[in-house]
């Protein structure tokens, strides 16, 4: 009985008793979820345009952040370092297209996926070799990002909002809006959607796949840099982040591999869900459940809806 009480009643009683704390937890979950969603967005961009499941997206986040901080530490002014980090992501995008993707046309998806695992190892080694392996802190202030916090009175208590978190949410929103504009209004964005629909057909109307791939990887690189800055500001910049970045996978399961709104909603569900579970139920299991909760949710979800939240029912053909 005690156990049942602890599982089904006590957590809700706690939520009702201290609504301000619940709000705080929800907000924290929301911000984490935004960052998950941003990583997932990077996966979706590349998957949509090239059918490649880019395992290295999480590493690219760290790599981008590392190069930004690395340039700054080498004496480059913050904003110039930002531009140079963008340049690095551009070079990486072209490099990946020239050296990897171009040579792997028509390979099965699984081979491409494994190639991106190789890419992530390469980036980890290169990142540490060039910029040093030690943990770094993000140059938040130097980039003009807010650092303080505001205390808000709500629900008979207080909620603390870190300014950087607010900024993260705003930047994420701007990024998504910009991408949506890019996809629907620009020539290359339209070409990109054509490629996503059908490679062969796109080729036959004269769209250059190579160009599209480079552009998409660059776009994913920009998203990675933004994510890296936000994430770095909340914790530190190091490759230990890659484990956290893997959480984008369950996000994608929920949202589907090709849906941008799906990535966002999936990210928020996972972010909020795991925070709430950790705070209110984690204690029962001894804590640390954030490590696997997202995956187990995704797993259970898959058993009931293998096509994801926004996917259409799969009709098997032969």
């Amino acid at each position: 009985m005690d156990l049942l009480y602890n599982i089904f009643i006590d957590p809700f009683a706690q939520m009702a008793a201290t609504p301000d704390f619940l709000l705080q937890v929800l907000w924290e979950g929301f911000v984490t979820g935004t960052l998950y969603a941003l990583i997932a967005l990077g996966y979706v961009l590349i998957f949509k345009a090239s059918g490649v499941f880019n395992f290295a997206q999480g590493i690219m986040v760290v790599f981008a952040a590392l190069s930004l901080v690395g340039f700054y530490e080498a004496g480059v002014p913050a904003y110039l370092a930002l531009i140079m980090a963008l340049g690095v992501m551009g070079v990486m995008a072209i490099g990946v297209e020239r050296l990897v993707l171009r040579h792997m046309v028509n390979q099965p998806e699984i081979i491409l996926f494994m190639a991106t695992i190789g890419l992530s190892y390469f980036l980890i080694g290169a990142g540490e070799l060039i910029f040093g392996g030690e943990t770094k802190s993000m140059i938040t202030q130097e980039l003009g990002l807010p650092t303080g916090s505001t205390v808000v009175d709500v629900a008979g208590g207080i909620v603390i909002l870190q300014h950087i978190d607010v900024a993260a949410a705003v930047i994420a929103a701007i990024l998504v809006a910009a991408l949506a504009f890019f996809f629907s209004k620009t020539r290359i964005g339209r070409a990109l959607r054509a490629v996503a629909d059908d490679h062969q057909a796109a080729l036959s109307v004269g769209i250059s796949l190579n160009q599209i791939w480079a552009v998409v990887w660059f776009a994913a690189g920009i998203v990675a840099l933004a994510t890296g800055i936000m994430w770095g500001a909340r914790s530190d910049v190091s490759f230990a982040l890659q484990i956290v970045a893997l959480k984008a996978l369950p996000v994608l399961i929920l949202g589907g591999f090709t849906s941008i709104p799906g990535a966002i909603i999936g990210g928020l569900i996972i972010g909020v869900g795991e925070k709430i579970f950790e705070v209110y139920w984690g204690g029962l299991l001894g804590g640390g459940v954030e490590g696997w909760f997202a995956y187990v949710i995704a797993l259970i979800f898959l058993l009931f809806r293998p096509q994801g939240l926004f996917g259409e029912k799969i009709i098997e053909r032969i």
Binding site: K313, I315, E316, I318
Partner: protein, 272 residues
């Protein structure tokens, strides 16, 4: 629809055609809002070669998928060997002796010809896990006994020379033949062939026709096939059922079907 049940008879070339092996009654199959098959009924007699023809999108492949349990019709029932079949998984259909080939060759690309045909005998092999671990005694005996059967099929289809070749490296015509071999290895009582001659040249078509006739004659296997080449269908089939837009528009011996006005309109309108 209300015609009397078909009777056993002997064909002109002396083959014995038995009673009804499988009967489809009012089958309707829908995918979401699309109706692929609308209330179709027909039967397959034991020992005959039954052709299903019709223009693209007529629902032929869907029909085969219904017969071997891959799709489940929303309405209607299937009677196989006198028993009404319930909703079943494909491997249960395979167990009842229904095997098939596919429109787009569905071989196991990474495996050799020999392994592909051995795969057709999966259901007939029963030695348990422990013997398999040791690959000794009964498990090895079983493997070799089935190998003998498989070699018979390989002989029959004249593909000895490609025994050890991974099927992914074979030309299309040979792949089709290996696929037929895989279906035959299961010693089916009902063999479903989905466009066995698609994409073949004249010579390959002649070979394949010969194999189909031989299978039917020598092994007495009942065959239901889908085919586009009308010449082939008219030569091979004992009876033909014609589908158009998911409906049955004709059913009978090739000659009769050929002169049916509906069929001519829908399908044979172009002079051959």
């Amino acid at each position: 629809m209300n015609a009397a049940a078909p009777q056993p008879y002997t064909t002109e070339d002396g083959r014995e055609i038995g009673g009804v092996l499988m009967e489809m009654k009012n089958i309707t199959l829908k995918f979401g809002g699309v109706t692929a098959i609308k209330g179709i009924s027909f039967d397959i007699q034991e020992g005959e070669i039954r052709a299903i023809i019709g223009p693209n999108g007529a629902g032929k492949t869907s029909m085969l998928n219904v017969i071997n349990g891959f799709y489940h019709p929303q309405e209607g029932e299937i009677v196989f060997r006198g028993e009404t079949r319930s909703r079943m998984r494909p491997y249960e259909a395979a167990k009842q002796g229904i095997s098939r080939t596919f429109q787009n060759v569905a071989l196991f690309q990474g495996m050799t010809t020999l392994d592909n045909i051995m795969a057709g005998r999966t259901l007939k092999m029963h030695r348990n896990f422990l013997w398999q671990l040791l690959r000794y005694g009964p498990a090895l005996d079983e493997e070799i006994e089935h190998r003998r059967k498989v070699e018979e099929v390989i002989d029959f289809l004249e593909i000895e020379h490609i025994r050890r070749t991974p099927v992914g490296q074979l030309p299309y015509g040979l792949q089709k033949r290996v696929e037929l071999g895989r279906a035959l290895a299961a010693e089916p009582s009902l063999l479903l062939l989905d466009e066995p001659m698609a994409g073949m040249n004249v010579e390959e078509k002649e070979d394949m026709s010969r194999f189909i006739l031989d299978v039917n004659e020598q092994m007495g296997t009942t065959i239901a096939l889908i085919e586009h080449d009308m010449g082939v269908v008219m030569d091979l089939a004992d009876r033909v059922v014609v589908l158009d837009y998911g409906k049955k528009i004709a059913d009978g011996p090739p000659g009769e079907v050929q002169s049916n006005q509906d069929v001519i309109d829908a399908y044979l309108g172009v002079p051959h």
